[in-house]
């Protein structure tokens, strides 16, 4: 595989990737969700993923509410994708999943193999970051079942993506998670309920109190992870702004930003400005660092530990630009 420095400088096929907004991973009240998407409709984001992906007990928005928001976003020119639950255990969750997968108006994002199975053979679906597509043969098999777009798993490196892009089946779009706290693990246990000394079946939906999740620090006060119900996230926000030139060269089609309680609109605007040459990568990196709740990281993309921040790459990319 070609090292970064050997990339062709005359690659004219590199086009500007689209921007997407991933599903809201936290539990926000109904009004906040409506207001959030009212603002998102005004941003230059191209694709919006909607729906509850973390916990089936979060039901402040009903299916028809999501569809109403979907219609509003579509009217504003956004492509809407309906996202589905990441951990399917109970039969009630399976029935709800089947309902969503039967929707023929919007594309569906599968986050569990149950959804992939239900969507197989249908016109086209997306796999989210929790579906383990780690090699070309997996990507090809899913493409043969109707996959149209995949989100690159967050723990893999740009070198692996480079290899996979070379073998990418015809018509498949590649999306990369470029900004936000990383979804790292899922459990049957609710860590938010555990923190409040509540049983999961009597959790009182206390996760609604933490719009960006609950910070978990080490015993020496270093921000480490974030508790978000049954999901565990990184405390640091993944930020691949310094690597978007690399992604263009790799033929990445879509860059995903993950919503946070504050400043999501500004973050979208920063990425958009950077993608269209209206803001330098360095300026964008500095602004994004300030907007991240507890710092940034980009280690996975560079082949290291996810929590690391490979800053030398920032200088390299900017000198190439």
């Amino acid at each position: 595989m070609a090292p970064i420095t050997a990339r062709g400088s005359n690659n004219m096929s590199a086009s500007t990737p689209k921007l997407s907004l991933g599903p809201i991973l936290y539990y926000w009240d109904r009004d906040s969700v409506y207001e959030f998407y009212r603002q998102i409709a005004q941003t230059p984001v191209d694709i919006v993923y909607l729906g509850e992906t973390v916990c089936s007990k979060r039901r402040l928005l009903r299916d028809q509410d999501w569809l109403e928001i979907a219609a509003q976003l579509e009217q504003a020119g956004k492509q809407v994708v309906l996202s589905t639950l990441t951990l399917i255990e109970a039969n009630s969750e399976l029935s709800k999943l089947k309902n969503i997968c039967n929707n023929e108006q919007y594309m569906i994002e599968a986050n569990d193999m149950a959804a992939v199975n239900l969507l197989s053979g249908k016109p086209g679906f997306v796999t989210g970051p929790a579906i383990n597509i780690y090699n070309s043969r997996t990507l090809q098999l899913l493409a043969s079942q109707g996959l149209r777009r995949w989100v690159f798993p967050v723990e893999l490196s740009r070198d692996t993506l480079a290899d996979m892009q070379q073998q990418r089946p015809e018509g498949i779009e590649t999306e990369v998670f470029v900004y936000g706290r990383l979804p790292l693990a899922f459990s049957a246990r609710c860590f938010t309920a555990r923190h409040h000394n509540l049983q999961k079946d009597d959790c009182q939906l206390r996760c609604i109190e933490d719009a960006d999740g609950m910070l978990m620090s080490t015993r020496e006060e270093a921000p480490f992870l974030v508790i978000n119900g049954i999901q565990t996230q990184s405390a640091k926000s993944c930020n691949l702004i310094s690597d978007i030139e690399d992604m263009k060269q790799l033929g990445v089609d879509i860059l995903r930003i993950s919503p946070q309680a504050k400043s999501t609109v500004e973050i979208i605007n920063i990425f958009h400005a950077c993608l269209h040459g209206k803001k330098s990568v360095q300026a964008a990196a500095i602004e994004l660092e300030a907007l991240s709740p507890t710092g940034t990281c980009n280690g996975y993309w560079h082949g290291g530990a996810g929590m690391e921040l490979a800053e030398q790459h920032l200088n390299k990319t900017s000198s190439e630009a």
């Binding site: 595989m1 990441t86 951990l87 399917i88 255990e89 109970a90 039969n91 399976l94 569990d112 193999m113 149950a114 992939v116 199975n117 239900l118 929790a130 383990n132 597509i133 780690y134 090699n135 070309s136 043969r137 997996t138 990507l139 098999l141 899913l142 723990e155 893999l156 070198d159 692996t160 290899d163 073998q167 990383l182 790292l184 693990a185 899922f186 459990s187 049957a188 246990r189 860590f191 555990r194 923190h195 999961k200 079946d201 609950m214 910070l215 978990m216 620090s217 080490t218 015993r219 006060e221 480490f224 992870l225 508790i227 565990t232 990184s234 996975y300 082949g303 530990a305 996810g306 929590m307």
Partner: protein
């Protein structure tokens, strides 16, 4: 697929040839092993089987009426693909009884290249419903699925009833609180995860340090826990550390306990569970001996008379002695909700 009259199989771990023989001698119906590289989820130094050891182990097990399964249950990336493909070919040529696989691409390869070889879906495949198991059955003809340790007994029953293939569940051993195959905590801190490298919280990243406050355990410099002299310091698996949330320092994710479902055997049998899996390929031959012996006795007792079955005090005592954290739990199996 519900066949509650079937005898539940005892599937025991073996990290080396002596352990395999001990498991077979103590009543394992099947033993699962891995090769000496990152193609399996217990990729630890000094563990696992080279070609000759695997040959000897398979011959020994087959002579004594036990089966051998080979776990090739990590996720290959393009740069390492050949190693996984070779592992599948190697296992097939050795005449193993089943492969335990997680990756879709590898399963596709195995099903195409070795159509007569029995395939099991690994717990690392994260299948928690009949619908996801159906994907692997429909595409690759898997004949068994191992389900994650997050399901409750009620959910296990439902999956057994509706799954197109028999179900294997974990009965005993170390407990993953996260869904297997969907936990990246280890690579976030160290760059290596069960999915990519076959190890969680790898030993090469562990640091131990005596300080005035106590014994610090770190993983790639991140403080996982600090133990005073009266506390026993366990291996710093990162989900089992103590962390600070809103000024409380506690086991924010998981207490260091082990799973033990021995009390639930009649219900698991009634649910139609096909096999009980014991965790611990990384554990000593002494552990394998205790656990195989006790679980063989328990499964036989349950099979003979499920209605009057009760775990014997001596069994539980023997298991407590080899448990991590010397405290056992029913895990998610006893959850009342849904």
């Amino acid at each position: 697929m519900n066949d509650s009259n079937r005898k539940m199989e005892l599937v025991c771990p073996a990290g080396n040839l002596p352990s395999l023989k001990i498991a077979v001698n103590n009543g394992a119906d099947a033993v699962y092993i891995g090769f000496k590289d990152d193609t399996n989820a217990r990729h630890f130094a000094g563990l696992n089987f080279n070609d000759q050891r695997a040959r000897d182990g398979i011959a020994y097990a087959h002579q004594h009426g036990s089966k051998v399964f080979v776990a090739i249950n990590t996720y290959p990336q393009p740069s390492g693909w050949q190693r996984w493909q070779d592992a599948v070919d190697h296992a097939a040529q050795l005449g193993v009884d089943a492969l335990i696989l997680a990756d879709i691409g590898i399963m596709d390869y195995a099903a195409e290249r070795w159509p007569d070889l029995r395939l099991h879906l690994s717990v690392q495949g994260s299948a928690t419903s009949q619908e996801s198991i159906d994907f692997y059955h429909r595409n690759f003809g898997i004949q068994r699925a191992v389900v994650p340790r997050v399901l409750s007994l009620k959910q296990i029953k439902s999956v057994c009833e509706n799954s197109p293939v028999p179900i294997e569940v974990f009965g005993f051993g170390s407990l993953c609180v996260m869904v297997e195959g969907r936990c990246l905590l280890s690579s976030y801190v160290t760059g290596q995860s069960p999915n990519t490298f076959g190890a969680c919280s790898p030993a090469s990243a562990v640091q131990w340090k005596e300080t005035d406050a106590g014994l610090e355990t770190r993983l790639n410099n991140v403080l996982i826990d600090c133990h005073t002299k009266d506390e026993s310091a366990g291996y710093p698996t990162l989900c089992k550390g103590r962390f600070k949330v809103n000024n409380n320092t506690y086991h924010a994710m998981e207490e260091p306990t082990s799973l033990n479902t021995m009390a639930l055997l009649p219900e698991l049998q009634q649910a139609g569970v096909a096999a009980i899996k014991i965790e611990g390929r990384q554990r000593s031959p002494a552990y394998i001996e205790q656990v195989s012996k006790v679980w063989r006795a328990a499964l036989d007792a349950c099979q003979r008379d499920p209605e009057n079955y009760q775990p014997q005090a001596s069994w539980l005592e023997a298991l407590e002695q080899v448990s991590e954290g010397t405290q056992t739990t029913l895990g998610a199996y006893h959850r009342p909700w849904q």
